[in-house]
Symmetry: C2
Subunit: 210 residues, 2 copies
Amino acid sequence: MLQTFFMPENEQFQRLKAYYMQLLPTLTEENWKVTEQVLKVRSFKKGELIVKEGHVCNNVSFINKGLVKMYFMVNGKEKIIGFCNELNYICDYQSFLTRKPANSFVQALENTEVVETSFDDLQMIYEKVPEANKLGRKIAEGLFLEMCEANHAQANETIIQRYRKVISDHPWLMQRVPQYMIASYLGITPEALSRIKSRVHNKKKSLVVI
Amino acid sequence: MLQTFFMPENEQFQRLKAYYMQLLPTLTEENWKVTEQVLKVRSFKKGELIVKEGHVCNNVSFINKGLVKMYFMVNGKEKIIGFCNELNYICDYQSFLTRKPANSFVQALENTEVVETSFDDLQMIYEKVPEANKLGRKIAEGLFLEMCEANHAQANETIIQRYRKVISDHPWLMQRVPQYMIASYLGITPEALSRIKSRVHNKKKSLVVI
DNA sequence: AAAACTTCTTAACCCAAATCAATAATATTC
DNA sequence: GAATATTATTGATTTGGGTTAAGAAGTTTT
């Protein structure tokens, strides 16, 4: 990569640093240095697996660039539970925290570059940098809140509402992933989503119906 | 209550202390004292609401004794999202963390005694007792893991599997709550659960089927 | 013990989405 | 640009759970 020549050595970590600073404005330069030392950049080609079912997930990975999907295999079919793009963490946090084999997969949908922190390194950071626990707490709390939202939507909204929310909240998603993956994410078959789309579309043509 | 006469003043906090010690074995007596000072014991009669939709949830409540249900109202019907009994925390943690009005209710299903910590007190503890952040992180991580499990079950298991899991994981639940609440918790109508039960039962009678 | 209420079961019918199957529209490869 | 995959649509049929309704079983009240 010629570009690296023009970058300061740690350019690849700047986005992660900004993310940390946002969650923990009191983070000192000194403590960032400790954290920075353990970071590793890693690249995945489109289609490569970042997390594999049956293997313990050993890293939290901050996505610098790219797009991934997280899914389970259930009865030989994949059930997508989420997409994750730039400036977000991807991890089977369940496996990561419990140190048990993951029951999910994470696959790169585009060529993807991540910044990894290993489990052991993170524990070391929690010991050496006490305020990192605050960061860890906020990240866990954030994941918890995200999951609350998702759960609530899953339980209390119709599929049409959820479909509308997906396309309004993440318009880029429609451009970057095929529709059958959106269907899997919504928990329905591609056929059902196709029918819903045409239903929504026809309503628009005829009359204004919420 | 005459009993209180025979107890040391903080007897009611011992269970919570044990819970903390289990999550954070390094907790010092000194730090526990800081924590203990802000705790409040509160009792709810069967039927009383501990968390109300529309009100910010201002406490995390550790259940000393009793049983509660947490639920949403959706189209005038209640959708139970969980039960919580002795030695567990009950809280609309989403409302608690975001400081926004809760969209859930928590109601005592039996006379219930809780030990409360208010939001402000907890923030104070996070400041005064740095290691409390570690505790807070672990609690948030624990809630996250719980929610992962629930989500995974919801998405990937049949209702029959989930029904079986409920009765094997929490046999006490069947004794302490009516069946229609279990149905709501499973996300189906009481009628459907009744049908499923008879289906499961008939299978047992005829042949060994999974 | 009778009355009133709550909870559970069973049956008939309905509907949304799954499944199965065929075809159409797009993308990708050669 | 023809051939081949991949993705999306549409139709016919099946199915699991919702809804409605009625009755049975179990509790509580009086």
